[in-house]
């Protein structure tokens, strides 16, 4: 830990420096300003490239079908057709699909957080036989693409009678090697002295985890939460395979595909559905943006 007192003492107070308010820009400062300007330009271009498709989706969802085919396509909906959203919601049964996705995603996120926290804590703080070997096995699961295990998973799920149930949708995803790895690394940043101090004060593992370890790895928890939310919400292949034709447990991504199939001539309606399905993701990103950035940069700052 750097001694903070010297840092505060060395800092100039700012008082007693008359005339320092608006100095003439030096060549050095001008160059720095130019570099900053260039950086903003690049970032703006990047933002436009990334946001443009999303913007066009919103625009097109508000156009009448006849306008979409128009060349060049209009970049602003001067006569927004809000009806496409109502149509997507009612004809596409988006309410039910969104509810299903919400259930599926919350169960997966909660499950992944719970199992990752407990496994990562064990790997970071406890001693047990074959700890290293087991951890390597955990890491190895990261190398196996989901598609490789899809056939066996499908066989297991259907043999358990979980076809077309939330259990089938969620249980195969409740544990994650990635999450365990991410949180273990975060836990390892916690000084061992803290664990021992708490131990002397009578805090067992669970209470230390709750009162000390988890608050200290909040950014990593948020990052893992957002990652697993994105992963679960955007799942397509697995929900398609384990759900039947009725919409009792089908998720919104499947619903969108069905909407596109049934409304071939009304692309604005299926785009409206897509926009609706993206909204929860945007909310999550906005809420957790700060924590997410902190987690991704935490190693560099500390």
């Amino acid at each position: 830990m750097p001694p903070t007192e010297s840092a505060t003492l060395d800092r100039p107070t700012g008082a007693g420096q008359p005339g320092s308010a608006t100095p003439a820009p030096t060549p050095h400062r001008r160059r720095r300003r130019a570099r900053l300007f260039l950086r903003y330009v690049l970032l703006s271009v990047g933002a436009v490239v990334i946001l443009f498709p999303l913007y066009m989706a919103v625009v097109n969802s508000l156009l009448a079908p006849s306008q979409i085919a128009h060349q060049p396509p209009p970049f602003f909906p001067f006569n927004p057709q809000w009806g496409s959203y109502r149509k997507a919601w009612t004809e596409g049964d988006l309410g039910i699909y969104l509810r299903n996705s919400a259930i599926q995603t919350s169960v997966i996120v909660a499950g992944q957080l719970a199992t990752s926290i407990l496994a990562a804590y064990a790997f970071a703080f406890l001693d047990f036989p074959f700890k290293r070997t087991l951890f390597i096995v955990f890491l190895a699961t990261l190398m196996i693409p989901f598609e490789v295990t899809i056939a066996t998973n499908l066989a297991t799920v259907s043999s358990l009678g979980w076809f077309n149930t939330f259990a089938g949708l969620t249980i195969p995803f409740l544990a994650t090697g990635f999450g365990t790895f991410l949180l273990r690394q975060a836990f390892l940043q916690i000084p061992r002295d803290l664990r021992e101090a708490a131990q002397l004060d009578g805090y067992g593992n669970m209470r230390f985890l709750w009162f000390v370890a988890l608050p200290l790895v909040r950014p990593a928890l948020a990052a893992l939460g957002v990652f697993s939310f994105l992963g679960a919400w955007n799942q397509y292949l697995w929900p398609l395979l384990v759900t039947g034709n009725d919409n009792s447990v089908r998720t919104v991504q499947i619903g969108l595909k069905q909407l596109l199939n049934t409304q071939l001539d009304q692309i604005n309606v299926s785009l409206a559905g897509t926009v609706i399905a993206v909204i929860p993701l945007l909310i999550i990103l906005v809420v957790f943006q700060k924590q997410l950035v902190r987690s991704l940069t935490s190693g560099a700052v500390k």
């Binding site: 001694p3 000084p191 803290l194 021992e196 131990q199 002397l200 000390v212």
Partner: protein, 370 residues
């Protein structure tokens, strides 16, 4: 700091809070970190475990805390053998070198943390935290977080968290080593006065002999896992049990010169040393003579040497000389002494009243009271 003695201290009866090591050993992967340590820390005493890094002093401390299990022997606190007692049930509080403060909690939460686990009611928790904070002069900082504090303040929070529990024993693991020199001297005095006031048995680990000399009721010197000597600071300084203790204590440490005893007379580097009183009661043969830098002086006649370094410290000067056989001897001079030049040929005189004799082979102190 207030000067009141905290109520509750009286609950520790005489002899109840002593700590005893009986033949304690600790091996890590076959290497002995602590080797057959037997030591009694008296009730209310501040005992300093002193030694170079890797000497096993921290391991010994951690065995009292229960953070390490002894490989052999027994550790007792009071009359209870605690080898199989959980750390939390030992009623000890530890102050870590890193302070081990919880960065996400305010100082109040940090200080109250041990009490929360003991299910102390919130009101009493707050009162005791206030009290501990006031004792350490942290009263107006309680709503801050550790990151907003200086090193010295963090150190005091760690102490407050230890005293708030009113434990039987304090364990301190190099608590001052992360502070700058000025703050270290200040905090050193604070810890001593706090310990004397509370009267809590304290084991204090350090590698800094000045800290040990100034703080401890007694000092236990360790080397390579083995206890070298336990004694009050002045005794340790005046009668070191072996050459290691002699050279480790004092700054700089004791000079050790190869010498020979012939018929009760002493010869260093071929020069006879005039001894007062009776001849030496040491068998003829080689011996190691120890002399503190303040008991050596530069004179016209004596052991021939040349000056290799002159360190001026303001109030005193250390003249580092090399004898003909290459032995280094440090001479401490007062302010008024004439400082020699580098490379100058000088002669060193040893004060015959302050000589120490050690076995040339084992380094153990030889009995000859002078």
């Amino acid at each position: 700091m207030s000067t009141d003695v905290r109520p509750g201290i009286g609950k520790i009866g005489a002899g109840v809070a002593r700590v005893n090591f009986a033949g304690v050993s600790k091996a890590f992967d076959g290497t002995l970190a602590v080797d057959d340590l037997s030591l009694e820390v008296h009730d209310g005493e501040l005992l300093v475990l002193l030694g170079p890094s890797g000497c096993g002093k921290t391991t010994a401390l951690r065995m009292v805390a229960g953070l390490e299990d002894p490989t052999g022997g027994t550790v007792s606190i009071g009359t209870t053998v605690v080898n199989d007692v959980e750390p939390k049930d030992r009623d000890v509080a530890m102050v870590f070198q890193s302070y081990a403060l919880y960065p996400h909690m305010t100082l109040r939460k940090n200080i109250e943390f041990p009490l929360r686990q003991q299910r102390v009611p919130a009101e009493e928790r707050a009162r005791r935290a206030d009290e501990a904070a006031a004792t350490l002069g942290l009263g107006d900082l309680l709503d801050r977080k550790p990151g907003q504090l200086s090193g010295g303040q963090r150190q005091r929070v760690a102490l407050a968290r230890a005293i708030v529990r009113d434990p039987k024993v304090f364990l301190m693991d190099e608590p001052l080593s992360n502070l700058d020199a000025t703050l270290r001297i200040q905090t050193r005095a604070d810890i001593v006065s706090l310990q004397r006031r509370l009267g809590t048995t304290t084991i204090y680990v350090t590698h800094d002999q000045v800290e040990a000399m100034t703080m401890g009721h007694r000092i236990a010197v360790m080397k390579d896992g083995m206890l070298q000597q336990v004694a009050a600071p002045q005794d340790l300084y005046e009668r070191p049990a072996n050459t290691f203790v002699a050279s480790f204590l004092g700054s700089p440490g004791m000079n050790l010169l190869p010498a020979t005893v012939v018929d009760g007379a002493l010869e260093v580097d071929g020069v006879g040393i005039v001894l007062r009183g009776a001849p030496l009661r040491i068998a003829d043969g080689p011996v190691t003579v120890g002399v503190r830098p303040e008991s050596a002086s530069l004179t016209a006649t004596g052991i021939a040497a040349s000056v290799t370094l002159v360190e001026q410290l303001g109030a005193e000067t250390h003249v580092i000389c090399t004898l003909v056989d290459g032995t280094r001897v440090v001479v401490r001079q007062g302010r008024k002494a004439v400082r020699p030049d580098l490379g100058e040929a000088v002669a060193i005189e040893l004060d015959p009243d302050y000589l120490h004799f050690f076995d040339a082979a084992t380094g153990d102190r030889l009995a000859d009271d002078r």
